[in-house]
Symmetry: C2
DNA sequence: ACCTGAACACCGTTCAAGT
DNA sequence: ACCTGAACACCGTTCAAGT
């Protein structure tokens, strides 16, 4: 209504007791903060609504359910991861070195943002149900595929399909990130820094595909 | 009441409508079934109690909280994984081949028991808080370490500490298992069978550490 | 169109009380 | 010692009703 319009426009003064403009964005922001604070496990739709200043039922005007709000968080995670990877890739002109640096940047980002990472690869929702999430995830993955393709093109690595190398490589990198976040490496007595470990492992792994 | 008592004593001779004997075991069994049916996410302490035929408060006589019951499930998972790995190891006398077969068996077990696997590596509880879990996990991991140590001893692989190879190797194998279960590999267009992928990847990885 | 309020069917957990 | 019953403080979700 007219009243609401005004309120929204001077939000700097009036705030949002009346939840005007983009509650959707406010909820996503609140969800992001909550996941960062308490992890994806402690994230609650009700509390996200509370922080956004609306009733517990309000979110259902913008998200079909809790999982969809969590998917929005995960999507933001993939976007940020993608940015971290792009930056790392641009900083490493040499194609093979770039692949290694992508691995390092991936693990670094994951370890520094464990809650995001868990929301991206946890089981609270099924990616398949959230197309935007698949797109964002695919974009992040493409950094790796492109770098490997460069290696193949320039003859630094041998192989046909870059995916044949990208699969194992992603598995390795995700495995390190995942086990590091879970504390599992430490639990079995591996105290090596995860970044160092992934650099060592990817370097060795890539050595195999080198031309003779 | 008296009625219930009678029921307890017969139901196949003795049974446990009266829940006496080992409710702890009954709860663990119920939890196992629930996790297998609905995944660790859908697992509920209340329903585990319901299936065991007791009130929602009863479990607290045997477990401090929900996480501890889930830890019992995860521990059982590690025990079964350990058995699968031991069997695979014994079937492969050649040391290097044994390492590869351990990777294959690991991924196979994980893909065939995704709910167990998720309860073992999910975030519903912190392993650190459950010593038995660390022990069981360590035992499973030792299969890999021992096999790698055999390779070093027999000179099939070069290196100092088996953990230096076991770390990347576990990361790789866990990464494949984890991404396969989550459907992430398929999502980015990698349709290769996870077992085949892990065999290929570990074989290549081990080739690097071969003596010249 | 967007939000509230009240309601429903659940949870995990605690605690007095029973046997 | 082990379990129940009732209670508490939450959830996610739905739906009529307000503006």
């Amino acid at each position: 209504m007219a009243d609401e319009r005004t309120r929204a426009q001077k939000s700097a003064r009036r705030r949002s007791t009346y939840h005007h403009g983009d509650l959707k964005r406010a909820l996503t922001q609140a969800a992001l903060a909550l996941v960062a604070e308490k992890g994806p496990k402690g994230f609650t739709l009700t509390e996200a609504a509370r922080r956004a200043g609306v009733s517990a039922a309000a979110p259902y005007r913008h998200f079909t359910d809790k999982a969809q709000l969590l998917a929005a968080v995960a999507e933001e995670g993939f976007i940020q991861l993608n940015e971290a990877l792009s930056a790392a890739g641009e900083g490493s002109p040499d194609p093979k070195n770039r692949v290694i640096e992508l691995g390092r940047a991936y693990v670094r980002w994951a370890v520094n943002h464990p809650d995001y990472y868990l929301s991206m690869f946890g089981t609270e929702m099924v990616k398949r149900d959230h197309p935007d999430l698949l797109v964002a995830g695919g974009r992040a993955f493409d950094n790796l595929v492109d770098a490997i393709a460069s290696c193949l093109d320039s003859g630094v690595l041998e192989g046909q399909d870059p995916l044949e190398i990208a699969g194992p490589m992603w598995s390795l990198v995700h495995g390190v990130a995942s086990l590091a976040i879970g504390g599992d490496l430490c639990d079995v007595g591996i105290d090596e820094d995860p970044e160092a470990l992934v650099v060592r492992a990817t370097t060795e792994f890539l050595a195999v595909a080198e031309p003779a």
